[in-house]
């Protein structure tokens, strides 16, 4: 088990290094002169030179890369060009919105998907199964930002149960903050839950066809016992894979949803960074998001190892 964890950890670090190189190349090397790009066409040469100096652009690329990486490791993300404050402060504030939103949506989608997938698999071809499959088919097809707009229309404009957007901050109290995140989380969770429920159902149905299920039945286990003791844990293994892959879609979705609800999260930050051509902000936020995806992949791999004893050995 220890070698398994160590092996996964090494691949985590390698992925991070390669990802950071890719981001660095795309943002700092491809455009030629990032300073000129950030300042736009009408910039004075001396302003550009000042910015180049501030960004340390005159150093060779690999020195710049390492100073960026060491900065990241020590929590120094540079100074935002447009906001004139450390990027780490900007990101720190925004994380308090984006991370709770992601967790909220993940919990919602996982709970709903497990219940729905389980019900559909047990009552295969029943009315419940058909309606769950119908709803999830729709859920997969609905763009989450459009669904978010419909939620705003119904629950904020017509029913006035929620506000149409904005975030009061955690200082306003736990429940108001959660309330502000509820519609965004539902909008984010719907497509995820639909996909997960479908995977859960088909995985369970496949597992119930396995030889060892028949062996367990021959031992005298009832259908329900077989499901809980044997099928569920095996069926979860492919579901975990999808859950890991889904996380990156969840992050991407969060960027869009934050813009629908005007939530001051990472998504809005990076979006504003683009419109203001603030490459320093864009570079750091993209790196953070990629780090999150790679970290979740690592955690899913570990969960995989815990769920499936075959993986702990040879791999």
């Amino acid at each position: 088990m220890l070698t398994f964890v160590a092996g996964r950890f090494v691949s985590l670090c390698l992925s991070l290094i390669v990802a950071s190189i890719v981001i660095f190349i795309v943002i700092e090397v491809v455009p030629g002169d990032p300073a000129a790009l950030m300042l736009g066409l009408n910039a004075q040469p001396d302003t550009i030179a000042a910015l180049r100096d501030q960004l340390g652009l005159d150093a060779p690329p690999f020195i710049r890369y390492f100073s960026w990486i060491f900065g990241l490791l020590s929590g120094d993300f540079g100074i935002s060009y447009t906001y004139r404050v450390p990027v780490s402060d900007l990101i720190g504030d925004r994380l308090w919105v984006s991370v709770p939103l992601a967790i909220y949506a993940l919990l919602l989608s996982t709970i709903v998907a497990f219940a729905a997938g389980l019900l559909a698999a047990i009552r295969r071809n029943s009315g419940a199964d058909l309606s769950i499959m119908g709803v999830t088919q729709l859920g997969v097809a609905v763009p989450n930002f459009w669904f978010a707009m419909l939620l705003v229309l119904v629950f904020a404009i017509w029913l006035r149960w929620f506000s149409a957007g904005g975030f009061p901050g955690w200082d306003a109290g736990f429940w108001p903050a959660i309330k502000a995140l509820t519609l965004p989380a539902i909008a984010l969770a719907l497509p995820q839950a639909s996909i997960l429920a479908r995977v859960m159902r088909s995985s369970l149905i496949d597992t119930l066809d396995e030889d060892y299920i028949r062996t367990a039945r021959a031992k005298g286990l009832t259908r329900a016992q077989v499901l809980w003791r044997h099928a569920l844990r095996n069926a979860l293994i492919p579901v975990l894979t999808i859950l890991g892959l889904q996380f990156s879609f969840l992050l991407a979705g969060a960027i869009v949803i934050e813009n629908v609800f005007f939530l001051p999260g990472l998504g809005r930050l990076v979006f504003q960074g683009i419109t203001q051509r603030d490459l320093i902000v864009v570079k750091s936020v993209v790196m953070i998001l990629v780090f999150a995806v790679i970290l979740v992949t690592f955690l899913v791999d570990l969960a995989y190892g815990a769920a499936d004893p075959r993986l702990r050995k040879n791999r």
Partner: protein, 284 residues
């Protein structure tokens, strides 16, 4: 070519998912084609006086905030969505499938390892992040959307092709082809590719629908198609601020996206059932 074809065709006609999905997909594809030659109104002509109309005989789906006919807007928007998604799937298939086939043919070599690691790496960059980086450098545009979605499609198809090919490489008919002296490229082309086409077609429809969703999201954020090029995502972005007094502006393009994606997904599900002989037998 009598046997398998007729039974496939039979299965296709009797699959409810496939028929419904193909009808929906066909409808929107036809709409996009027709819009190349004819639209009820010209979407480049603004009619501010006639803005934000509701449903009427002259404008069955109403008009938008600039007085443009929604039917015409949705028709032209279909072009953008379908074109972007189609090219993006093309990029994924064009690069991903050959890479996957080569990786499988050279299994457990450095080449295979590099391809798989590169795939994992791209999976860490959701299409939206790629689009954000591209836009930050080159500015927004439909081409960005195509590149971003296309890049994300490459590992999807590479993995699928590799996985399907790996299981085929262990089959005896491939061994027989090797005994017949055929090289890896020839075997990949003659024996492997035809036997993973079904998988690729099914995944293709799924990626197509994901492409339409992704294009809509990018355009909605202003990272994709730029005005005056109409696109369903942009229409939704325009609709957002007016949703309280002109909800039809949000409903119409949204439903267009939902039905297109639904059609593609149903078609994919149907194809999967049709291609899986196990399921086909149980239905007949």
């Amino acid at each position: 070519m009598s046997g398998p074809d007729t039974s496939l065709w039979f299965a296709a006609r009797t699959s409810r998912s496939f028929v419904l999905g193909a009808t929906l997909t066909g409808f929107f594809a036809a709409v996009a084609l027709v819009s190349l030659f004819w639209t009820p109104y010209d979407v480049t002509v603004l009619d501010i006086a006639g803005k934000l109309q509701g449903f009427s005989p002259a404008h069955p789906l109403g008009t938008d905030h600039l007085g443009r006919d929604m039917v015409a807007m949705v028709m032209v928007g279909a072009q953008t969505s379908i074109a972007v998604a189609f090219v993006a799937v093309g990029i994924g298939v064009g690069f991903g499938v050959p890479l996957g086939l080569m990786a499988a043919a050279n299994r457990r070599t450095l080449f295979d390892e590099i391809i798989m690691r590169a795939n994992d790496l791209i999976f860490a960059f959701p299409a939206l992040l790629i689009a954000i980086m591209i836009t930050a450098i080159f500015g927004p545009g439909a081409i960005n959307a195509i590149i971003a979605i296309g890049i994300f499609n490459i590992p999807v198809f590479a993995r699928l092709a590799r996985g399907g090919a790996l299981s085929l490489w262990t089959r005896d008919f491939v061994m027989a082809a090797r005994v017949a002296g055929k090289n890896k490229a020839k075997i990949s082309f003659e024996h492997i590719l035809p036997n993973i086409t079904n998988l690729l077609i099914v995944q293709g429809t799924i990626q197509f629908s994901l492409g339409i969703l992704a294009e809509a999201a990018l355009s909605y954020l202003g990272l994709g198609a730029q005005p005056p090029l109409p696109s369903w995502g942009r229409m939704l972005a325009d609709a957002q601020t007016m949703i309280s007094f002109a909800p039809h502006m949000a409903l119409v393009p949204g439903l267009a996206i939902v039905f297109t994606v639904l059609g593609l997904n149903l078609m994919g599900d149907g194809l999967r059932d049709i291609f899986d002989p196990r399921l086909r037998r149980s239905r007949q």
